[in-house]
Symmetry: C2
Subunit: 434 residues, 2 copies
Amino acid sequence: MTEHVQIRELAEHVGDDVSVLGWVHNLRSSGKVAFLIVRDGTGLVQGVMSAGDVSPEVWERLEGLDYEASVKVGGSVREDERAPGGYELSLTDLEIVGPSAEEYPIQLKEHGVDFLLEHRHLWLRTPRQVAIMRVRDEVVKAIRDFLYEQGFVNVDTPILTGSIGESAGTLFETEYFDLGAAYLAQTGQLYNEATAAALGRVYCFGPTFRAEKSKTRRHLTEFWMLEPEIAWCDSECNMRIQEGLVCYIVERAVERCRDLLENELERDLSKLASARAPFPRLSYSEAIERVQSLGSSIQWGDDLGAEDETLVAQDYDRPVFVYNYPKQAKAFYMKENPDDPRTVLCDDLIAPEGYGEIIGGSQREDDYDRLLARIREEGLPEEAYGWYLDLRRYGTYPHSGFGLGLERTVAWICGVPHIRECIAFPRTLNRLYP
Amino acid sequence: MTEHVQIRELAEHVGDDVSVLGWVHNLRSSGKVAFLIVRDGTGLVQGVMSAGDVSPEVWERLEGLDYEASVKVGGSVREDERAPGGYELSLTDLEIVGPSAEEYPIQLKEHGVDFLLEHRHLWLRTPRQVAIMRVRDEVVKAIRDFLYEQGFVNVDTPILTGSIGESAGTLFETEYFDLGAAYLAQTGQLYNEATAAALGRVYCFGPTFRAEKSKTRRHLTEFWMLEPEIAWCDSECNMRIQEGLVCYIVERAVERCRDLLENELERDLSKLASARAPFPRLSYSEAIERVQSLGSSIQWGDDLGAEDETLVAQDYDRPVFVYNYPKQAKAFYMKENPDDPRTVLCDDLIAPEGYGEIIGGSQREDDYDRLLARIREEGLPEEAYGWYLDLRRYGTYPHSGFGLGLERTVAWICGVPHIRECIAFPRTLNRLYP
C-alpha cells in the first residue's frame, strides 16, 4: 500500500508513489489522457492519467465521476511549474470512495447568494470559501498567541445571563428552569471586569448575539467577538494595545496566508502593508467636522453611521481611531471624560477602504456613584447589576477594554464585502439553516 | 515617578524602586512595622513598612485599609527566600486607589458554597480560584497550539440552530424572528462534518448547552467543549489523536503551571506524570464484565454510569479507553461496527482517580441509507437533517471526531472535585447569577 499524504505535503514526496484522498474538483478528458483535479482541504493537485498506463477497469471509473465525488488516487509525484500548486501526480490508480451521482448542486456557473447560503454546507468546499476559513483560523490563532505572550488570561464568560448587557430590545430570550428568563449575552465585558480584578489582564473570545432586525453587509445575529479587559490601563493605554494587536494580526495573516490572500482572494496586499502603527487619531469632534465638510448631515451628539465611518476612513491608508464620543451615543459603562463631561473616554477603530468599525473600546466608569447614576438614567434593572456595582465598592480600579469583531476584521483582511462569508454558518434575520 | 511593574516581573527589578498596583490580600501590623500582602493577578508580594521610614500621613493610611482595597505601593525590591514568591518590597509609599470600606464579604473563614457562588465575582479573586483559571487558560492554549501544529483549522459552529443536535428534551429554545424556534447547540459536530469535507481537519471550541435537570458535580448547563472532526480517519486513528492530545495538554499544564498546581492546588503531580501513552483500551463488553465482577448491576446494553466509570478507571494510573458501545446506548450518527452490528465504532476516554469521562468520540456513519434509517428510528425531524444527509450524498468519506469537555479536563488536572470551580461563572439548574 502506498503512503497517504496530504496535498500540502506533496513537495516532500517528489518521485514517490503516494495516494491522495480527496474530492473531485474538476475533470477534463481528451481522448486517451484525462486531467483530474483533486482537492483535500489542504490544497489542490492535478492528476494526469493516460489510458495506456492503467487497466481498462480503472480508466472506465472516470466515466462515473462527478464533481465532489470522493476518491483515492495513486501515482507518483512530479514537480511541474505549470501545475496548480507546483506538483502533479502521474496517476496509476483511481478508486471511487463515495460517488456524487446526482447532479452536484454547486456548478461552476454563477449562483445567486440565497441559493449558495441554502447550500452553505457544500458552498464551503469551494476554494474561495476555503481560503476565507483558513484566514479566519490564522487570525484567531494570531490573536490568541499575541495575548498569551502579553500575559493575558483567557476567561470564558457566560452566554446564558440574567438581564444584563448592552441594550434591551435586541436580546434573545430563553426559559431557564424555574429561574424565569435568561438572555443570550451580547458581551462578556461586564463579567471580565470582575475577573480582571482577579487576574490583571484577561480576555474572552466567543460567540455573541444581537436580535437586531438589521439587514446590512456588516451585521449578523450571531458573531464572534474578542474582548480583552485590562486592569490599571487608561484609555490611552487601551488604544496602544489595540494598535499593537491589529498590526500583529494583519502581519501574521499576510505572512502565513499570502498565497490564499493574493491568489485565491485577489487581495491587494499593498493595502494591508500600510496598516502600520501609529494609527491616526481623531477626536469625535474633529471627525464630525471632517464628515460635515464632506457633506454628511450628522450633528454633534449622533453616533457615526456606516457612511460617516467610510468618510472618516477615506483620508487614511490604515485604520483610524475616533475617540471620546458624546456620552449619549455610547454605553452606560464608559468613563466620563474629566476634561469634557459631555463625552466619555472611548475609541472606535475604523478600518480603511470602507470596511467600517472593527473595534469599540473604552475606559470603564470606576466611580460607584457615577455608575449607579448612569444605570438609573438608562432605566436598567438595578438589582441585576448588584454584582457589577460591587466591583466599584470593593477596591475599584482604573481599567479599560475593547471588543474586536472577528468577522469584520476577517472581511477587511480578506477584502470580502459581506461578513456573512467570514463565518462558517452565518445567522441573519432570515437564515437559520443549514 | 517610579515604574509600574507586575508582581511576576519583580525578579527583573531587584534593587530598583518600583510601584505595584493591586489589591490588599492581607495586613498584619506589630507596632511600628506593618506587613502588607498585595496581589495583582500575576502573583502575591509582601511589602514591609516601618513607621520610621514613611511620613505619618502615609502610615495612617494603613488604618483605613480593608481586604481587597486597591492600592498603589512604592518601594524597593529585595530578594528574600522566606517571602512568598521570593521577593519583598521595602515600602516607602502607599496610596489607596479604591477603598473597601464596608466589610468585605469573603473573609478568611470558611464560607458555604452557595454564599461563594452568589459572590462568584469576588470569590474569583482568591488564590485557589486564580490558580484554576490560570490552569484552564493554559489548557485552552495547549489545545489550540497542538491542533494548529497538526494542521487543524478552527471553524466556529453556530449556537443558534434549527432542530438538530444530540437529543431533544434537553434543549434551550428561543424565538428567532419570523422563523419560529431556534435551539442552543449541544454540539458543533454535525456542522463540522460538513467543513471537514472542505478543509480536511477541523475543530470547534466554544460553549455548548444542555437544559438537563442534572445536579451532579460533573454537570453544568453551559460548558465549553472542544470538538475536532477529521476526514479520512477511522476509529483507531481517532483514538490515537485523542491520546496524543491529552498527553500534550497534561504535560504542558504541568510544565507551565507547576507552581500553581503543586503549591496552590496541592495537586499530587506524580498522578499526572503517569498519564502517558499508550492508554489502556477495553472493549465495552470487557468493561461490563469487569464492573460486574466488582459488583455493579449494570447489564450489557446499558451506558456506563458515573459509578461504573470509576470502577473501570480504578485499575489504571492513566486515562482508559472504553470502545465500541452498544448502538442503543449511543447517538444516531455513530458508525455501525462491521464486525458486530450490535455495536458502534466509538470510544469514551475515562480519566483516572474517579474524574470520569473527559472525551466521547466516534467514527461517523458515512452510509446514506444506514444514516437515514437511524434518523427515522430515533424519530428525529428528517427535514432538519437534509443538509447533513447531503454529506453522504455527495462524496461521502470516512471520518471521525470527538468531544473533550474542558471543565472536566481542567478538574482532573487541577484535582478539583466539582467542575463548577473550573469555569468563571458556572451555570447550573439553580444558578444564573452573577
